[in-house]
Amino acid sequence: MKILVCISHVPDTTSKINFTDGDTKFDTNGVQFVINPNDEFGLTRAMWFKEKQGASVDVVNVGGPETEPTLRKALAIGADSAIRVNTEATDGFYVAKQLAHVIQDGGYDLVIAGRESIDYNGGMVPGMIAGLTGANFVNTCIGLEVDGDLATAVREIDGGKETSTAKLPLIVGGQKGLVEESDLRIPNMRGIMMARKKPLTVVEPIDAGQETKSVKFQKPEPKGAVTLVDAENVDQLVSLLHNEAKVI
């Protein structure tokens, strides 16, 4: 089984979010970039398929040379080889078109991409890849088994979960649950050394239009201070929620 894990290069959760150029660009100054958490769960599940079922695991990112350390980290965790599509990831549809091309070119059986990236939160890349390639698709996937060419996937639905089966090739929108947080791997020294020798191929993008564009960013209005209510006066909270906040 050939697996491709799509890796988004995103600011660490604790990063300060600021914008430059008249609020049109994300300010990367002093920001630490990491593998998108939703992708990391998928990568770890892919490593399980590699170790238990002999799958091969490639990773891919659409982005400039600055994203290579993130791909190297994925290699250090255990992926076999990496692909970087050398272009700026301008919008989800554009990225999906690039990835669909890589997938068709590489003949992958299983593609795992995070359900959304924690920066732009588009939540569209896995579904669009599926739409573009015609492969089966399961989103918000929290459990995945593959037997021969048949996959069984569990998906999180509102208020519960749903199990389905589908033939490969399959595109998965992954998240926590594919593996547990405690299963995530931190690259060890041996992995880091080996990652340096693993292939990282740079490919040029295909021509594709840009459908959407962030024209300006805004930060939420600064929040006022919390209104504290005395623990002996819970009545007041009920009254504030009813009369002031108007939420009950």
Binding site: G131, T152, I157, E162, T163, S164, E211, T212, V238, L241
Partner: protein, 322 residues
């Protein structure tokens, strides 16, 4: 021409998010000077949609579609959009709508903006406001495609009553075998509980509750408020509560009108996931807990003392305001 809206149902009844999506579609349609057409798949009583401004309802009745199926549902919406000449398609932010929207966007060669929180800022160029950076910022997003798919964030717009004919029309899309290439084998859902996605109020418990045996009061509080229950990441990691209740960056996102956090310290990953909620209340015995900086209302106190009192006061309030 029309604005198309997918009005989702559950067991033959429209979801609240369907009415919200319809309310939004109506105002977008007014901006563009066109009508609103809803698509209802094995749905509820179409006349209910008229209350929220829907002019026409394409009703699909098909026993093969009893379970949600993203491929087939996206195919139906594509055919409906083409039949109606829709330039804007509105969907909600339920798990199912987020599942089908990107497929639909590809079928229609449409731009897709998810987590949209307001009416388009302008129709030409078509610019919408959506959340980004896990609720730490908004992105004004210009959509340049002829057809646009908009995913409306839950509880962002609210319900707006309007009058529409909601004229029902039988719609029989042509479905292919490929639409059914994924088979649903099991659905496991607690039907008696409010889901986090649908909830207007969410009550969440953290490690401060000391153990799963203390969740009775969280459930009782949720019951009184008609709320969904949720929990922080450590709580689900320790197995005190099911994973489906974990809210935060890697768990479920919450965009409720009211979010009550009890014994939750407010780690940045937790706050990122719940920040889209409009009003936040924290109850914690540690006045230094980071959640107090993010909350609108707070009580510094022992949850085991405060929560039972709150339940009692809310019950009084409910009976006085019934």
């Amino acid at each position: 021409m029309s604005v198309l809206v997918y009005t989702e149902s559950d067991s033959g009844k429209f979801k609240k998010s369907a009415f919200e999506a319809a309310s939004y579609a109506k105002e977008v349609a007014a901006m563009l000077g066109v009508a609103v057409t809803a698509v209802s798949i094995n749905g509820g009583d179409s006349s209910e949609l008229g209350t929220y401004g829907v002019d026409k309802v394409l009703e699909v009745k098909n026993d093969d579609l009893t379970n949600f199926n993203a491929k087939a549902y996206a195919d139906i919406l594509k055919q409906a959009a083409q039949k109606e000449g829709a330039k804007v398609v509105v969907v909600s932010s339920t798990a199912d709508s987020k599942f089908l929207a990107p497929l639909l966007a590809v079928h229609l060669d449409a731009g897709y903006a998810s987590n949209v929180v307001a009416l388009p800022e302008s129709a030409s160029p078509f610019v919408v406001k959506r959340t980004a950076f896990t609720n730490k910022a908004f992105s004004m997003t210009e959509m340049s495609t002829d057809v646009k798919v908009i995913g409306l964030s839950n509880n962002a717009f609210g319900l707006k009553e309007n009058s529409g004919d909601a004229a029902a029309e039988v719609f029989e899309p042509v479905l292919s075998q490929d639409d059914f290439s994924t088979q649903i084998t099991a659905v496991d859902r607690a039907s008696d509980k409010v889901s986090i996605a649908d909830a207007e109020i969410v009550v969440s418990g953290g490690r401060g509750l000391k153990g799963p045996e203390h969740w009775g009061m969280i459930e009782e509080l949720a019951d009184v408020l008609g709320a969904a229950t949720a929990c922080s990441k450590p709580v689900s990691d320790m197995g005190w509560r099911p994973h489906g209740e974990h809210v935060g960056q890697t768990g479920k996102p919450v965009a409720s009108n009211l979010y009550i956090a009890i014994g939750v310290s407010g780690a940045i990953q937790h706050l990122a996931g719940i920040n889209a909620s409009k009003v936040k209340v924290v109850i914690n015995n540690d006045p230094e807990a980071p959640f107090f900086k993010a909350a609108d209302y707070g009580i510094v106190g022992d949850a085991f003392d405060v929560v039972p009192k709150l339940i009692e006061k809310l019950k009084e309030f409910k009976s006085n305001n019934a």
